[in-house]
Amino acid sequence: MSKNTPNTPLTPAVLHILLALSTEERHGYGIMKEVDADSQGKVKMGPGTLYGSIGRMIEAGLIRESDKKVDPEMDDERRVYYRITGIGQKSLAAELERYREVVAVARRKQLA
């Protein structure tokens, strides 16, 4: 996959993962929990979708692996954390701007 440009529209899964990583680095389970909380339980992302998206996002340069760490809240193994990159932040900002424009259009047409 080639590098994303900020103008490339994002899929819902990618958007939610970027939102989850926008505030702090997280591991897979942490991303899942954050997506669940952000969407108030409306978006259920399993490991298949999550890690498939993570793989494509790394290839596109939107996120990258951080160092392996131990989660203080989880007792056990070392985990791979992911963090958003500069391209990821720009893509997220551009996507949110697109959403704002759509909502503005909907408001003008008194649909929202």
Binding site: G28, Y29, M32, G46, P47, Y51, G52, E77, V80
Partner: protein
Amino acid sequence: MALEPRTRRYRNWYSKLLRLYPKAYRERFGEGMEQTFNDLCRERAQEGKGLFRLALWMFVETSAGIIRENATIIMRCIMNRGSTIFLRLVITLIAIAALAVCVFKLPRMIAQEAAKTPDTAWQIYLFLVGAYIQAALFFFALYQAFKLLSYIDRNKAFSELSVRALRHIKHSALTSVS
């Protein structure tokens, strides 16, 4: 904390399911996926909820991911080898057409011509032998072209092997012409 046998069983099954991912993907994300599965099982157990529905959903969802990732690998492979696959197809079609002419058309034509002029039939049969020698050279060149494409697929386009294949093609062409 000791795991409940059912949880351990689900974890084992999930671990086995992950083996169906492409190797590179499994090596990169397999451990993380297993950890995530274990975390979700642990969370469910702490909430005192049953595991069956969660496990079923995770197995179905991960199976869809396995299909998607394998399909991606296959598609990339086809895209990367697309041009050589097309050329192989063209070579195969040419070979089939040439073989059909050699087996069906040429003997019938020669037999008809020989029947018309029985006195000089030997010349016509000599021509047939020459045509078959030409065809053999042509098939040999096609075979070498096929080999050359396989060297290209293996990133050996600029190797001694590919030079030898090209030389064989050239010699076959020159022998055919002369």
